[in-house]
Amino acid sequence: MASRHFKEGNETDFESDLRENKEAEGGSETDSDASSYSYSDSDYSDDLEPEWLDDVQKNGELFYLELSEGEEEALLAQVSANHSAATNHVRFSEKEAEIITDNGKKQAASSNKSKAKLKKFTKILRRKRRPSQRKAADGKDGGSSQRPTSILKNQAGQRPGVVVQQQRLKDVCVYLNPKRLGSTSPPSPDRGGLLEALLGVVHRPGGNAGKRGEKLIIHGLVPHSPASKCAEILIGDTLVAVDDVEVTSENIERVLSCIPGPTQVRLTLETVCPVGSSPDSRPKPPPPVSQLVRLLWGEDTVELQMSIAHVPHIVMYLSLKLDSESQQEEQEILYQYPVSEASAQLKAVRGIFLTLCDMLENVTGGQIVSSSLWLKQQLVHVGYWKEGSNLLVIAVPASRVPLLYLQTVIEGVVRTLKVMYGSLDSGFCEVENVPRLDHFFCLFFQQLIQPSRLIDSSRPPTPDISGTLFLDGLPAVRWLTLPADIKVEVDTILSDFESSDFGDMSEDFYGMRRLYIILGSCLFYKGYLIANHLPKEDLLDVCLYCQHYCLLPLASEQRVGQLVVWREVFPQRRAQLNPGYCQPHGRHFLLIVGLRHFMQCVLLEAGGCASPALGTPGPDCVYVDQVKATLLQLESLDAAIEERLSAPPTPCLSCADWFLPAGGRDRQDGINSSPILNRLTAAIKPPSPGMIGRSLFGEVGLGSSNLRGRRLSPQRSLSDSGSEGHVDASFTSGLSPHATPDAVRRTPSSGTRRDSLGSGGSDGSLGSAGFFKIPRLKHPNPFYLGSLKKSLTDRETEEMHNVLKLTAGAENTLFHYVLMETVQGIFIAPTHREVNHLSGSIHPQLIHNFYHCCLSIRQAFQQSLPTRDRRGTERPQSTRGLGPVKEHGVLFQCKPENWTDQKKPAPIMTYWVIGRMLLEPVPQEFYVCFHDSVAEVPVEMAFRLSFGLAV
């Protein structure tokens, strides 16, 4: 009991600390520029407090994530399913639960249910999602993790009046969102109150209604309410506690009204247990739906950690200066994560890392970057990064990160840490950072070692480790090209925001110095960058942060109710010294606000022309609200961007399976059986028999002259004959030869048509600008054949849409591509949706191969680059090796799996994966995968693809 009191004391101390701190900040603010704060206070004090306010940490940082309502449904199922599994793992919440139980008991004993206590409950409820604080308070926790979830469960027997032998207590988690009740006045108690409105539990008070402390027997459930959806709350059960606060008919309304926002609440119910069924016999829950969100919330890290405990991995920050006088054990370990069996083995051999680092510098004059060692028949790569007299060591199994890409991964981590903490030393050596770093590296290793558990597995794109490694390792952000008019609109909205003209909300209005200067912002939609007003290096810094916290996949797969991230950052561009120009000495803050699929990252500067920041300021409500307003404004463009995402891919992609006879023939037969398509194929069948096409695609092999108009294809006569002189030089088979009819669309604009007309000349490349001129016409979704019936007429067949093709030759042979604009720091690749539509058995393998190969190609580019090495010293020029690699290609061969036909040899499909580095006219890296049938010149493909790609 003593210890509990002690902990409770700690908690309250902490709370008061926090408050004091805030007050202190406020005080200092008032000294320098009093009114700025006071105005925001005055503006917002009477208003509803923002939900995230209580999540702001002591050092001003904030990570607040709330799922939107649509996601709650999913969460609900998960929560109820998960609940029994979670009992042993969520130790932090258990701990809080303990404290509250104590409170609850005391309350019950003294029957002095003061409002203050309930407030505390509110706070604890709110704090549930603060991982680091919880961990910080949990520093010396270790033995307590074995305790059962509910104290009530254990102690129930001691309480008089409750017969535990026959009645069983069960815990049920439900997801409650008081905001859904709307802003109407609280439901009247006679209509069931919050219990009915919020939870959906009907309780009819017994005869003497006013009786104090009546048991809450569940008499009914409201349909579609959280209680009925979770399917574990049964009529006849008794509600004993909410989050371990004992409830009766008297205090239930007050307890429920203290739930501040959408949260998960644990209900303890007393139920009549059929004899013989122990709690353990409950069915095992299905795998959780969204581990990522739980991980971001800081829940469930233990379980995820346990599942990779056998995989050797570790991160250590070691001191190279050994103080021989103090004989403390492990004093050279400044930081270490995780603590598992396999990592203990790596920790035990840290002497190797220290010795190698020291010795190799003496022997060869170079810094160690990597070493490999075998641990129980498993090859483990160790990456090193020396900073000052300290050494960062990260070990990962070779099966996850190939040696040739290890350095890129390490550099990414180091840069992210530098962005977050300024330097490795300041990140690792502060004790208070330890829980944050634990969380950081937990995410890091989870992403590397079991990415599939993080990402929703029900959706098809199972992330593949090579792909993630490659794309995350690129010094660029995934870009989504938008139609010009939408792009302009987005940019205008962003610019409006960046002008800091907040009207009567802005500091100017009150004649004050600004709190922050907005250096720029960038906007993501579903994880794609759609607008960027940041310099490249800043963009990369911001993007690295988002990547490490999985914010980009989060926004793409789940509708984020609200995401607010605030922290001080140390942009790397500003850390470097530029000769001739001195950056103003200011402090920088990163504000990320996400709403639904949109996410905006804003880089703010304090100091310089804005007022200097003192202490550790938390997020400013005005700025957060302004970003939110911007996002709400952008939401009107949601549909247009969605339309772009669901548009057929430009350039067209083919599926690998279509090139293998077996799969292809079946598909074709299936399609030909459709009468509409028969008519269509007849209509568009090329009149020229001389057309070169594979027999496989003969009837629909509709290729045409390529974009550059190098040659006139016989198909031109087709369109010529249809509509007079309508030369659609870039008409090709759409998504695939088979999907051609689907892609029927109008020729977008006269502009491109003119370009196409002129494509006979040498300026034909103009036409490629049309790659990203996506028409904003309604068109049939190319992936649904059903819509064809309505939309397809003979006339329209001839007005084929300008679907563009990257590859030369008759067929579209392009499988996949990645184009990186080095200067702008962006890359384009087929969207996830485009890739998903090309399902098949071979194609996913091909994509995996493509990315795996890209790792190798990019490493070849990197090692030959005459770059300065990472420690800023010029590499000796004599390092020639293979010399600078400009282009590198690999030809792959694949056979269909389980080929049963004994008579014929299995058909073979071959395809190229080629990487090309261009330095002129703009530095680019281009990776492409296409079928072997046509010899391609990657430079030209890159040129075609990049033309018209403007930020």
Binding site: A348, N362, V363, S372, V380, Q845, H848, L891, V937
Partner: protein, 426 residues
């Protein structure tokens, strides 16, 4: 500090860490460094973590290898110049071990009774080991140490020589005979290819090459895989300066008999053929009947079944147009070829040969990450274009001029392959 462009090879006893020898172009590493290089490995092994290799930002590398749990070999490469790849160092360690076994026998090395005696005995291996160290950056066109395939010479009058060799070996009561011209295998008996492992063939070729000063010799050798504990006689005779014939045989025939009776009987009539063969070898490793395109800078062709390899590095361009740029220096071309081979083999292609010491696992296999089989690859650099091609039977690594269009590389490579195989039956 280790000088740039150097390579040091250390040998210690695995259990006690006593240094046995240290070879390399520059002066020996300080004892403390040798001690800690060995120490880190031993420390790790004690904790169940076996250190395999490490690398610095300037391309220096250290590779550890423990053989038969008795000897530890450590290769340390200096930075600068062209970084020596891990594959190359790993193969170096294997070759050095094979050489040591070949000369001293496995028993001697696996069960160390007297360290001082072993140290003295190992001196007899220095010559071979130094040769292996030189070959890491050799400009003679030897690639066998890296490819672990015997460097071959394709001569035009092969059938005649083959016949002579077969009957010579038969007369010497041996199934293993081999004719070497300037260290390259010109002809060998069928058993030489089929019964000896490729690593044995490589080290035997190196051994015979290192003995080239003697007109004849009778040398007891152990075969690292075939007969690691029982010595076999290696008889080697100089037919012409630079041309040697060698056989592996039992107690008979005596060196005297073989030299005086058999050599003259079988080879004296062929002196002229051998001279032609030698002159041709001075020009090219390919017979004159094979005409390569003028824009081929260098090539390495490996027969994957018999584990033979031909390296071609033309001295002059034949039939090149006037405006053609001059060839790169042959040293650079061979270096590029070696680098490209390493590049392709570590990432895409596979070699089937088994490691000498299955207990000491080799490095990570990047190519295992592929679900489909890489069959060809190319690189375009500032100096040349490289094309690699793998078929079930052959591997071809080709360096071409920059003037060859990239899309034509594939055709050129397949044509070159078929031209050579058709003309020589390689």
């Amino acid at each position: 500090m280790l000088q740039a462009e150097t390579l040091q090879l250390l040998c210690l006893t695995a259990s006690s860490g006593v240094p046995l020898f240290s070879r390399g172009s520059t002066k020996q590493l300080p004892f403390s460094i040798i001690g800690s290089l060995n120490g880190v490995h031993m420390f790790g092994a004690g904790h169940g973590a076996q250190l395999s290799s490490c690398e610095t930002d300037r391309g220096s590398r250290v590779v550890w290898g423990v053989f038969q749990e008795s000897l530890m070999l450590i290769a340390v490469s200096g930075s600068g110049g062209s970084a020596i790849s891990e594959l190359q160092l790993r193969r170096l360690l294997e070759n050095v071990w094979n050489c040591m076994v070949m000369i001293l026998g496995q028993d001697e090395l696996a069960n160390i009774r007297n360290v001082e005696r072993l140290k003295r005995e190992l001196r007899s291996c220095y010559r071979l080991i130094d040769m292996l160290l030189e070959r890491v950056s050799d400009d003679q066109g030897f690639m066998g140490d890296l490819t672990q395939c015997a460097d071959c010479l394709l001569s035009s009058n092969s059938s005649l020589l083959q016949e002579a060799l077969d009957s010579f070996a038969q007369a010497a009561e041996s199934e293993f005979g081999c004719l070497l011209v300037h260290g390259r295998v010109a002809q060998a008996t069928e058993k030489w290819w089929s019964r000896l492992t490729s690593q044995e063939v490589v080290v035997l070729s190196i051994l015979v090459h290192s003995l080239s000063g003697a007109s004849s010799c009778d040398y007891p050798v152990f075969l690292p895989q075939g007969s690691p504990t029982v010595a076999i006689r290696l008889l080697s005779f100089q037919l012409l300066p630079g041309v040697h014939v060698c056989i592996l045989c039992g107690p008979k025939p005596s060196l005297y008999k073989a030299e005086n009776e058999l050599v003259s009987r079988f080879w004296s009539t062929l002196v002229e053929n051998l001279r032609i063969c030698m002159e041709q070898a001075d020009r090219s490793t390919l017979p004159p009947s094979v005409s390569l395109r003028w824009d081929v800078q260098a090539l390495l062709l490996i027969n994957r079944e018999s584990r033979r390899a031909v390296t071609v590095c033309p001295r002059v361009r034949g039939g090149a147009p006037a405006e053609a740029v001059p060839l790169l220096s042959s040293g650079r071309r061979l270096e590029l070829l070696r680098l490209f081979y390493t590049f392709a083999m570590t990432r895409y292609f596979t070699s089937q040969e088994t490691s000498v010491s299955p207990a000491s696992p080799t490095s990570e296999d990047f190519s295992q990450g592929f679900t489909h089989v890489p069959v060809q690859c190319y690189l375009v650099t500032d100096e040349c274009k490289c094309y690699g091609l793998q078929s079930p039977q052959h591997q071809l690594f080709l360096l071409m001029d920059l003037s060859v269009p990239t899309f034509a590389l594939r055709t050129v490579a397949t044509q070159t392959l078929s031209a050579i195989t058709a003309a020589t039956g390689f």
